[in-house]
Symmetry: C2
Subunit: 291 residues, 2 copies
Amino acid sequence: MRETEIIEQIRRQTLGSHRDPTLIRGIGDDCAIIRPRAKEDLVFTSDFVLEDRHFTLQTHSPAAIGEKALARSLSDLAAMGAEPVFCLVSLAVPANLGGAFVKRFYQGLLRTAKCHAISLAGGDLSRFDKVIADVTCCGRVPRGKALLRSGAKVGHHIYVTGKLGAAAHALSAGKPILPNPRISAGVALRKLGISAAIDISDGLSLDLARLCDASKVSAAIASSSLPLSRRATLDEALHGGEDYELLFTAPPKIKIPANMPQIGIITRQKPRHSVFLDGHPLQSKGFDHFA
Amino acid sequence: MRETEIIEQIRRQTLGSHRDPTLIRGIGDDCAIIRPRAKEDLVFTSDFVLEDRHFTLQTHSPAAIGEKALARSLSDLAAMGAEPVFCLVSLAVPANLGGAFVKRFYQGLLRTAKCHAISLAGGDLSRFDKVIADVTCCGRVPRGKALLRSGAKVGHHIYVTGKLGAAAHALSAGKPILPNPRISAGVALRKLGISAAIDISDGLSLDLARLCDASKVSAAIASSSLPLSRRATLDEALHGGEDYELLFTAPPKIKIPANMPQIGIITRQKPRHSVFLDGHPLQSKGFDHFA
């Protein structure tokens, strides 16, 4: 199958899928064209999924790789409280996998795209000796309303959108993990007027430290308040990556849905550590690509 | 060097570089934030550069890889007649290359960014066993004014923005190729009101066929009119990839700059072939990743 034929196959796969009204031109030219609406900000993020790093061909089907590739990037939109608009997908695959692999990758990706009403607008296709994908997502928020890491203030309560440690526990059992981006939770929280958010892709300990650093505050959390996934250990809930829940802060006066438990409180910035668990400094042991 | 330190290093490297006024928030949150201007369309493209496919560590310095990664993607903006706005850069490198490689990659990339007034807004950083980068570029055009592949009409003259075959010739001599994106030419041609454009990244024969297919026309070109680079053969000019000149069409009444030679004319669509050289069908031998 030639490159032109594979691209035509992808274009046909997108027919009938969600098309954002601001997407003027999708696959088929040198660039996609977007006509932004007035009074909106657009937010952008890119995320890799790499063979033998984020998945293996043994643990993940081509469709599961496509789902995961888009979901990782969507999770960053969720953390900004953004509604999905469009994505660009750069995909490289070994020649021997060819058009059949690409077709099934996009079946999975477009299934996730449909769930979250995001349009596939373009990308790149190449040959490589491993499967690699980079997905860029664009989302929209009302002007000036994006949730930021830097919005946490002393006295704010700290919450998470769901149970923690499931992904780390599944990983230790050799099972594939499918991130479930919390797009609708992010949008709902933005409308409630919460202050700060980040997605927990690299583990609560590391991502909470990042939120504290960006906001120039510290955080006190209680182990008894942490919502552990079934069978997950405290260590998995604290440091396990790929949970893709949102971590956020809000002033006490804002009423947060009951299924999003409070896990702690924002305090004044301490000199050497930003996160304290049950009163003791908590080292970030989350996922660091270069540690 | 930890991931957080490397990202902080990249953020520091961007200080003092070009910052587009619509970029509200760059590196440091889950997403970059853009506040689009009224009456503009935004165009988007993504392009991979992959080790041992688009470059090797022997032929390209880290800075040259960074320059090439951005330039490939910028060339797609040029083909739309767009002015650069921002880019997202996903980069993965082997652990042993580490922070020093990343720093030099971004020195090269930011040098090219400065030339074309594009802001580095964010991206991803990962570890992998080869060096791979995917660059997403965003550009702006006045509403409805993007140059398209589909705008060519019968009777239009066909032009190129410069000499052809240089990249293929350099490649055959084992020399690295640094694409020079034709951003200013693209913007100037858009303002002249030309009809259709594409960048010649995969070779004139293949990219002209793509433009013809998108426009539902054919093209007649003359070998005597082709502007050959010094020492390049006709075959290199016709089929060599990575030239990154623009190929465009315009009605005869539009006066095109003298340094952009006419190479042929657009004709009615023929049944089996879209490109004819000196009256004979020309097979596309350009770069096809999966051929």
